[in-house]
Symmetry: C2
Subunit: 236 residues, 2 copies
């Protein structure tokens, strides 16, 4: 094989935040035989270090394209992740993290992200959308539940020229949906994900070092511990 | 009534491009008893004059809020409206305009726009989304058809905390759906819409003056003619 070998794999769009889950979803997309096209949204989030992580992860895991779309959701407001006037919770008991809709919920975030993924997929001739939502999320975030993913898949097939003209059928893949954090970490490690490149922290510093005490950090720590794997996270 | 009178009307989000249809949808939203919150997306479109029109229309028709979200869809590409390398068709026979999916189709545009409207609505505590799609569009654009609007409404109610917690039921209103351009123009005129403020042209100049020969101009001209109303459009 030379570097001029044509890439015959079908393309798929992967939503890539730069966190642990989306990096794993990208690795699964590649394992499934797709040429991964990574889409990151710069949506005015506090954890901008995630975007730098997304670039590193896309390169390390062989994304054939990486598109960063700037979309300032802070104008819309309503979440601790985009609104500086709402505090990110710290030091909570992991057992209480999954209960209720958290203040870090961004209104309709996954609807917005999947809509952008769908638009890009249609341009690329892709029909497969990957995202890294999982069971830990969907107890708290309404737009991480199976009912949401099914409704979006149905929408995609009536919303697009590609779907309506029958050129293909859009599919939403959420390969981590039923996995615990420990299972995700084991899966990704087996697929060659270097988790030291990823940033999950809601409150990471400019260098991407994690706080160690926000909900995302606590769940991530617990995942590595339960998987019996060393935690490569860079803490500050 | 003084200017300090509280506005007890429920809020609704109206997608406002600054064109004829969305201005009419805003007027209908107000007639329906809502406090209209207008949402415009600066999505890198060629017809930026529409955004200036949106500001004038929002003010003239009593929108209580007007939010402009910058979202550069030209990175995603695939349409004559956002990609400078694709020509906008000119001088077509109006009879052929409705056939097939036009090059001015923006991939998944209404999915993206409604997703943003939904996000803002959730922040505002609104449950009603208005958009100005109509029958003339839906022969050509897949995301203007009733099947699309129904699928989005279904999605909205599983995608959001407000929907899942049962605080209300999201509704997508497309009051122009079954109307011809002539009927839209008559409806809006009766509701006080000043169409000289609106810009429909796909190729308007900086001052918002219309070309008179693109699909949007031809359909608009025909609408005023068939309604028996003077055409207030500013042509260059």
């Amino acid at each position: 094989m030379t570097s001029a070998t044509r890439d015959d794999r079908p393309r798929a769009v992967v939503l890539l935040s730069g966190g642990l889950d989306s990096a794993t979803a990208l690795a699964v997309c590649r394992r499934d035989g797709f040429a991964p096209c990574a889409l990151s949204v710069d949506y005015g989030q506090r954890h901008r270090a995630e975007l730098a992580a997304a670039r590193r992860v896309a390169a390390a895991l062989g994304a054939v394209r990486h598109l960063v779309v700037p979309l300032d959701l802070s104008a819309i407001g309503g979440s601790a992740l985009t609104d500086p006037s709402i505090d990110v919770p710290k030091g909570r008991d992991p057992a209480e993290i999954g209960s209720g809709i958290p203040v870090t919920y961004v209104p309709a975030r996954n609807t917005v992200l999947l809509a952008l993924a769908l638009a890009w997929a249609e341009t690329l001739g892709a029909f497969d959308l990957y995202l890294g939502v999982n069971a830990l999320d969907y107890s708290g975030y309404p737009d991480c539940r199976p009912a949401f993913l099914e409704a979006f898949e149905r929408l995609a097939n009536v919303a697009t020229a590609a779907g309506v003209e029958g050129r293909g059928r859009f599919r939403v893949h959420a390969p981590l949906l039923e996995l615990s954090k420990a299972e995700i970490v084991r899966l990704g490690t087996g697929l060659g994900v270097d988790y030291s490149l990823t940033v999950s922290c809601y409150d990471a510093d400019e260098a991407g070092r994690a706080c160690g005490s926000c909900d995302a950090c606590l769940l991530r720590k617990k995942g590595f511990a339960e998987a019996g794997l060393p935690d490569p996270t860079r803490y500050r």
